[in-house]
């Protein structure tokens, strides 16, 4: 017989010879794999009991059980768990390689489904995988690389990483592109407020078949987070601790002191005979003797990347108590994270408390209640993106200046004449505070009424209260930031409260081989947010910080606002399957939103899906030894997007101020023209999928093709200024995203001591703007245009620099040798807008993730590789720092710039800003860089202590690990990290300007269970 056949004996069959006895007996047995080879380390537990054991090297075990009716649960990783009655004193238990995943339960909107019966495209990620990388601070970071088609860009190196999540591309121009988050049924909850350690699963809904049940909010996909519950009749204490050490992953190659002075020397020498101030004996600027020796050599050589960063020491702790009795479960968790950023004084801290209970109050009633409350605080040191902030100064500060002079004063760039004046980064990091935080509470109460055997009624109420704040202070002596204002202190407070109510009936019944599952329900959602901002300036002393705004003599105009919106929805879904073989589903949701009016108040979102589990057909039987499961599925549906900001259907006047008699006076201007006919943005999506399982689950493969068209784009249609308005929102235009996703999970080696499993996911997405009213929208260095992909960089091709031999040709373009030479693509003899061309796309051509887990006895090694290919970045930092006229520090490459002796260069001859100017384009092929990369995202080595040893100290599990996050990065990109954007990730992904660098983090991780 086949080695992969079903277990030949069931637990019941083994019970035949069972003799009833009340005396404790000892059972012995041997556990083997499907080939009869002994399985050491398999776990044997008494069902509903507390005792258990593991098999020895010969697969043998011995266990004392209360009586012969005791049921043993025998489990081993990668094999199906079996239950065996202790009916014989010499048990032979053969385990079969498990196809666990097919029996897994996946949360679908308003219900659950067995994975085997799933006919929509849902990527299900277990909680263990979310916390696999121990430095993960939030759920979204943990999701990165775990699901095909889910692009998680960790766009900054600051604590928390500012992840941007896009499911199947960017579908919207003016509405949000962020997925909808649902936590334990609470729609619109904040995923950052949940400790990843209490997450049981994250299910990502990608196709319309799965998202349409969320109607108007599902167009960008839905991410459903389910928290862990206590287990009945058990008790567990779980304690996770991580201490980590982050350092700058790599430095970028900037000029050192001698290099920077060489640059200055050449800039001045653009005009022959002109001397740089430090070389000019007649120029005795104030700090000259502090900075330079008599011979003009520098006294200091400061590496600002070192000075502005540090070894960031962070620690995270999470303590969970869970368990339950017959009719009651509980889980209580407290977590604390204190994450330092590698840039001085940057941090993020979070404290969270969470509790959930489940109670079968009556045979006909179960309740679940949960409460999550916590606080978060961070110091935002990279605010004011294009301003002279600390991160920018780390790149641009002059290396021949000290952090502090011997007299204690901080250096300023302006200490060298002609350089752009600003404080140095160390000073800015120390003396500018921008502390943001929030206090959030999420409560949820769910009652399930068992109305009849197959009919439940579920009603839930949830409330969220989020109080956010931003406190800013910069002192009266911080040049360029707040000195001019005599110090600036500001406090912003926001309060947002949301309540929602969901009520639905669910029905599940089997009529012979006909299985019907249906829900029908309604929901109400109410959102209110208000904000207040106050500030003052001109403080005689810096002691007050932002604690005493009244001490400032100049009061900033305070502001406040309140926004409300409501949703009211009705939904239904019916799933039918015949014998688990032919599967059909349909869902429909009607959403009413206060953002729309009249006939458009309600939007309607249907979806259909179907699947065929080919492997259940008789004709497939012969193949089943190789292909254990095969399913073909497809879905089509319409999903909406209403995340369009507030009040687009109402004309608004803008209340502002004018000055008369040198006093502020009220003024009102026309602001926006409301479009009462506005309706929902809709995305229609076709998904075709294939799920195959080989060799009883040793190899699981899943593939999807999708074609998603977002239409009726809520598009800000530009109006001629003669109308008095910049434009108005209209439903116009469409964008297509299509692509495919592949997921492959394999258990490559399964042997006694050594196991190797791996997981690959791979996705390809192509976008195309189908229609935007023939408008062209210009983004940072790019444009959005019909017929083109989104996020397309658009600009000039740099051909190099005009040489002296080309002087005559250069003159035709008004250029001199040493000036930049751009391709004259339209051959009209002048450089003009017609010379621009596509320079590549910010989104990757493909991306993939490859994780491997190697286990040898108690030791496991985890290796996580991330790759993106074909994604371009606009390195705006390099544009600013390496142009022809530089009055800050620069990349080291700039010393290869054109000189009469080195004419073959790609960098223009350097010069001062008021010298003849070589034009220098932002959208220049020289700065649009290839961001393809391979990252060794994580390497983790974990040792699990032997359970036998742990018993003595009443522990059930103890593991100790060490891991490196962001270990190695292979890329040609010249900035810190190609996974970056400094602006919105929707339309300006890949625009990198003074990126907060990502750390390489080494951490030690200790997990204990009692």
């Amino acid at each position: 017989t086949s080695a992969f056949s079903k277990p030949s004996i069931s637990a019941k069959a083994k019970n035949i010879s069972g003799a009833l006895s009340n005396a404790a007996i000892t059972v012995k047995g041997v556990v083997t794999d499907e080939k009869g080879q002994p399985l050491p380390g398999a776990s044997i537990k008494i069902k509903n009991g507390t005792t258990g054991t593991v098999t020895d090297v010969n697969g043998a075990f011995s266990l004392s059980v209360p009586d012969a009716s005791a049921v043993l649960q025998v489990s081993f990783t990668g094999y199906e768990t079996r239950e065996v009655t202790a009916s014989s004193s010499q048990l032979k238990i053969q385990l079969q390689p498990g196809n666990k995943s097919l029996n897994e339960v996946v949360v679908v909107g308003y219900g659950t489904s067995k994975k085997a019966n799933l006919i929509t495209s849902i990527a299900s990620v277990k909680g263990d995988a979310i916390t696999e990388r121990p430095t993960t601070v939030n759920v979204l970071q943990g999701l990165a690389g775990k699901a095909a088609g889910v692009n998680v860009m960790t766009n900054s190196g600051k604590p928390g990483g500012n992840p941007a999540v896009k499911i199947r591309g960017t579908g919207s121009i003016n509405s949000s592109n962020s997925p909808l988050y649902v936590i334990d049924g609470v729609v619109g909850a904040d995923p950052n407020s949940i400790d990843p350690n209490i997450v049981a699963s994250v299910d990502v809904y990608k196709d319309a078949g799965s998202t349409a049940i969320y109607g108007s909010r599902g167009a960008n996909g839905v991410i459903v987070i389910t928290t862990k519950l206590g287990k009945k009749n058990s008790s567990d204490i779980s304690f996770n601790n991580t201490v980590s050490f982050g350092t700058l992953q790599h430095e970028i190659n900037l000029l050192d002191a001698n290099g920077a002075l060489e640059l200055l020397k050449r800039e001045y020498e653009y005009v022959p005979g002109r001397l740089a101030p430090h070389l000019d004996p007649t120029n005795n600027f104030a700090r000259k003797s502090d900075l330079f020796n008599v011979d003009g050599t520098p006294k200091y050589n400061t590496d600002w990347q070192k000075e502005a960063t540090r070894t960031a020491i962070s620690h995270q702790h999470s303590l969970t108590f869970s368990g339950g009795k017959d009719d009651f479960t509980i889980l209580a968790n407290i977590s604390y994270k204190n994450n330092e950023g590698i840039m001085l004084n940057s941090y993020a801290k979070q404290l969270n408390g969470y509790i959930n209970i489940g109670w079968d109050v009556k045979p006909w009633l179960n309740i679940k209640a949960s409460l999550n409350a916590g606080g978060y605080q961070s110091n935002n040191i990279e605010g004011n993106t294009l301003g002279l902030n600390a991160v920018r100064e780390m790149y641009e500060f002059l290396p021949f200046m000290p952090v502090q002079y011997p007299d204690g004063t901080y250096s300023r760039k302006g200490d060298y004449p002609g350089e752009e004046d600003s404080e140095n980064p160390v000073r800015l990091l120390k003396d500018v505070k921008d502390v943001t935080g929030r206090i959030s509470t999420l409560g949820n109460f769910v009652g399930t009424f068992h109305l009849a055997k197959h009919l439940n009624f579920v009603t839930s109420f949830s409330g969220q209260l989020n109080s956010g704040y931003e406190n800013y202070f910069s002192g009266n002596d911080v040049f360029g930031v707040s000195q001019q204002q005599g110090g600036v202190a500001q406090r912003t407070n926001t309060l947002n409260s949301v309540w929602s109510n969901e009520d639905y009936f669910s029905y599940d019944n089997l009529f012979g081989k006909h299985h019907v599952n249906a829900i029908v329900g309604a929901s109400w959602y109410d959102y209110i947010t208000s904000a207040t901002k106050t500030g003052s300036e001109n403080f005689f002393d810096n002691t007050f910080s932002y604690y005493n705004l009244g001490a400032g003599t100049v009061i900033e105009t305070p502001s406040s606002s309140q926004i409300e919106n409501q949703l009211n929805s009705f939904y239904t879904r019916v799933n039918y399957d015949y014998d688990g073989k032919y599967l059909f589903g349909a869902s429909f949701r009607a959403d009413g939103s206060s953002k729309f009016r009249g006939d458009n108040l309600y939007g309607y979102f249907p979806a259909f899906n179907a699947g065929w589990r080919v492997s259940k057909e008789n004709f497939f039987k012969g193949l089943q030894s190789v292909i254990s499961d095969l399913k073909i599925r497809g879905s089509y549906g319409l999903v909406g997007n209403q995340e369009i900001g507030n009040y687009p259907t109402v004309s608004l006047y803008n209340s502002t101020q004018s000055i008369f008699n040198q006093q502020k006076t009220s003024a009102v201007t026309l602001a926006t023209f409301g479009n009462p006919d506005l309706k929902w943005e809709k995305s229609q999506q076709l998904d075709l999928g294939l799920d195959v399982s080989f060799l009883n689950g040793r190899i699981d493969f899943s593939g999807d093709y999708y074609n998603k068209i977002t239409k009726d784009l809520i598009y800000f249609v530009q109006q001629p200024a003669t109308s008095g308005y910049a434009g108005a929102y209209k439903n116009l235009g469409s964008i297509r995203n299509r692509g495919f996703e592949l997921t492959l999970n394999t258990q490559n080696i399964v042997s006694k001591d050594f196991k190797w499993s791996s997981s690959i996911n791979f996705s390809v997405n192509r976008s195309k703007v189908l229609n935007i009213n023939h408008d062209i929208i210009y983004t940072w260095g790019g444009r959005i245009m019909e017929g083109e992909p989104l996020n397309e960089f658009y600009g000039y091709i740099r051909q190099g620099v005009w040489t002296q031999a080309q002087a005559a040709e250069a003159a035709k373009f008004g250029k001199l040798p040493g000036d930049l030479r751009y391709a004259d693509l339209n051959n009209n003899g002048v450089k003009d807008a017609g010379d621009r061309t596509d320079l590549g796309n910010a989104m990757p051509k493909w991306e993939g993730n490859f994780t491997n887990t190697f286990t040898y006895k108690n030791l496991s090694l985890f290796l996580d590789l991330e790759a993106m290919y074909g994604n371009k970045l606009l390195n705006l930092t390099r544009f600013i720092m390496t142009g022809p006229t530089i009055n800050v520090n620069s990349y080291a490459e700039v010393l290869n710039a054109y000189t009469p002796q080195n004419q073959n260069s790609t960098n223009a001859q350097v010069r001062l800003a008021n010298d003849p100017y070589s034009d220098h384009e932002v959208a220049d092929s020289h700065y649009v860089e290839d961001g393809s990369f391979l990252r060794v995202r994580n390497i983790a080595l974990t040792y699990k202590f032997n359970k036998d040893w742990l018993k003595a100290i009443k522990m059930t599990n103890l593991s100790l690990g060490v891991n490196v996050e962001n270990a190695f990065l292979f890329t040609k990109y010249k900035g810190y990290d190609p996974e970056a954007t400094s602006f919105d990730a929707s339309l300006n992904q890949g625009v990198d300007v003074y990126q907060y660098p990502k750390p390489r983090t080494i951490s030690i991780n200790l997990n204990a269970n009692f």
């Binding site: 309140q562 409300e564 006047y653 209340s655 101020q657 004018s658 006076t665 023209f673 308005y725």
Partner: protein
Amino acid sequence: CKKFLEEKTNGLLTPDNYYNNSQQIRAAVNGAYLGLNSPFITTIGVAVSPVFSLEYITGYCQRPRPSGNEDNQFIQLGGIDNANSSLETWWTSSYYPIENCNSIIANVGNSTVVNATTRDNFLAEAYFLRAYYYFQLVRLFGSVPLKTTPTTDLNDTQLSRAPVESIYNQIVSDLTTAEKAGLNWTDKTGHVSKGAIKALLAKVYITMAGYPLNKGQEYYQKAYDEANQVIQSGQFSLFTNYADLRNPANYNSGEHIFMIQHDENTIPNIMHFTLMPYPELPISIQPSYSGAMAPAGSFYNSYAAGDKRVAEENFYYTQHGQYGNPSNIIKLPMPYIYKYWNDQAEISGRDGSNFPLIRYADVLLLCAEASASLNGGTTSDPIAVASYNKVHQRAFPTAAAASTIALDDVLKERYWELAFEFQTWFDMQRTRKAFDVDNNKIVNIIGYKAPMHNRAFAETDLLWPIPLTEIQKDPNLSK
């Protein structure tokens, strides 16, 4: 459920709840003034603002801090690309506030929530401002759409260009309507006054008399009459010292007929800081955002010896005390503009000074110019001559009073007196003359190469192209 989904516009003003009382109308009228300052917006470049394009185009002005291609198109007369973003700012800075005026005029026109006098005074301000913005548009772009009613349907926003004459007729109509209301001759708070209305009317008439309408004598006479009424009102006078132009106590009075109103915090003025020397010199608490504009050397040198306007720290300066150490005199590498220097801003880092839009000196010189034009190039009309003398003798206190003046002398006086006040280009357009600074004579603009330009003016340089983005949004504009 309908009730549950009712939209709540908390604290937001909507058409349903507006123009219901005097305070609301006052605020709407105040809002219509904000467009006056819109061209002064600073863009992402340092000391870059669309407003300077109006001086760069004259060719008498240099930009010490290079800013790139867009400004160079004006500074060097390189040919102005219709994608140049300055054009868009001038366009929107006119049409957006025009829509505010249209809304006020339509909604307040027959309003009974205020008494007729109050209503007409509000309307007078709106009519004046609409005329001001259209006057700006028609001079910069020529034939442009003429829209005098508010937008009610976004499917109906494709407008065509109106004949230049119909735009001027609307401007005159708006100003004469405004004139009829009971506004005072002056308004110390900075609102529109009868003086401002009449002065603007004088400027409109003299423009209509010249290019492109060439209405000639009749309109020179009208310009003369309006200017004369301003003069005869006795409400305005030249300041004795040029420094008084910068004195906050004098705002909206004396020589200042109409100004853009600023304060230090809410709507600061950009001029003090953007006009400082570049590379920066430590002559103010904040010298970093400097270098927008300085006189071309030959223009500066065209002032006659002894002209007080080039005396140190009147209209220009060549040195200044160090900030915090005034006894250390710092020499500037070349003359810079001092007209907008604000002593308070030097210390506080905030420039709250008003910006002059219509000065009495401008009206006096208009009067003289209109008279000289009426009389074939020279005039001895006592009012005109006295007007010219007032301006000239302030610059040359010891000069003898002229009894006859030539048109070219008046025009030259305008270049010197109104330099860098964003008036010169409009004078050049309407007269089709330029000031040949090297030879100290007024010449035809066509064929004249101004000091900073790379080539001579051509017919096609006199109007700016309609912004590309507007043509894309309204293809009728390219017809």
